[in-house]
């Protein structure tokens, strides 16, 4: 299970262990953490919610896209759901490749794709309120009902 949604704290080393391979010359690990200040506003904690079955499928899709682009790559991603406090780990992405440049590039690709196509949402809780992020600003719209090719970064 290289692609998971976790209700409990993520063990970073266990994600890294999944991509260890004899062919690898590099493993990059991205650890996404909960930031206290966003645009000057203080977050108390976050709630992450996922459409879990689809989210796992989309994480697997990202893994496949990476293998197609960077042959010889192994990928593992775990994303946390539930209540997270400041500094808690929200996501861990581990990528191993034969050469280091690809490990960095492929890892960056994974996090950017997560932010485009994986059905996970965060709700920020502040001292004076709360809001689901990524929606009410309505800066993103999908007139055809699904992401356009350009939205998918292909």
């Amino acid at each position: 299970m290289n692609f998971e949604i976790s209700k409990t704290p993520i063990d970073t080393q266990s994600v890294i262990d999944k991509v260890v391979q004899r062919e690898a010359g590099a493993i990059t690990t991205f650890i996404g953490t909960v930031r206290e200040l966003t645009a000057g506003k203080k977050t108390l904690y976050l709630i992450y919610e996922a459409y879990e079955s689809m989210a796992v499928k989309k994480l697997e899709q990202i893994g496949q896209e990476i293998k197609d682009r960077w042959p010889g790559t192994k990928v593992a991603i775990t994303h946390r759901v539930g209540k997270l406090d400041i500094t808690d780990i929200a996501v861990v992405i581990a990528v191993s490749t034969p050469h280091r440049a690809d490990a960095y590039e492929a890892n960056r690709y994974a996090i950017e794709r997560i932010k485009e196509i994986v059905p996970i949402w965060k709700k920020e809780h502040w001292e004076d309120g709360e809001k689901w992020i990524g929606n009410q600003l309505e800066t993103v719209s999908y007139p055809t009902g699904k992401p356009e090719e350009s939205d998918l970064g292909e």
Partner: protein
């Protein structure tokens, strides 16, 4: 199925409707009126795969509305 602010607005995680033969776009229009939702900013998924407004629904399909995502 509804998620994030859409679920809060509807007050339910999911509802069961007779939409066989209708398109995703039809379903959006119907639910927008029924629950006073703005679904223009939501993507749609049928059976866990992104779907377009023109896609036709059949009996037993699971239609989910996916607000712009904010994972990572």
């Amino acid at each position: 199925m509804f998620f994030a602010h859409l679920r809060d607005a509807v007050g339910e995680e999911s509802v069961t409707l007779e939409l066989s033969g209708k398109t995703v776009g039809d379903a959006k229009e119907l639910l927008s009126k029924q629950y006073r939702l703005n679904l223009d900013t939501a993507m749609a998924a049928v059976n866990e795969e992104f779907a377009g407004n023109e896609d036709v629904l059949k009996d037993g399909d699971v239609l989910a509305f996916i607000p712009p995502v904010s994972g990572g």
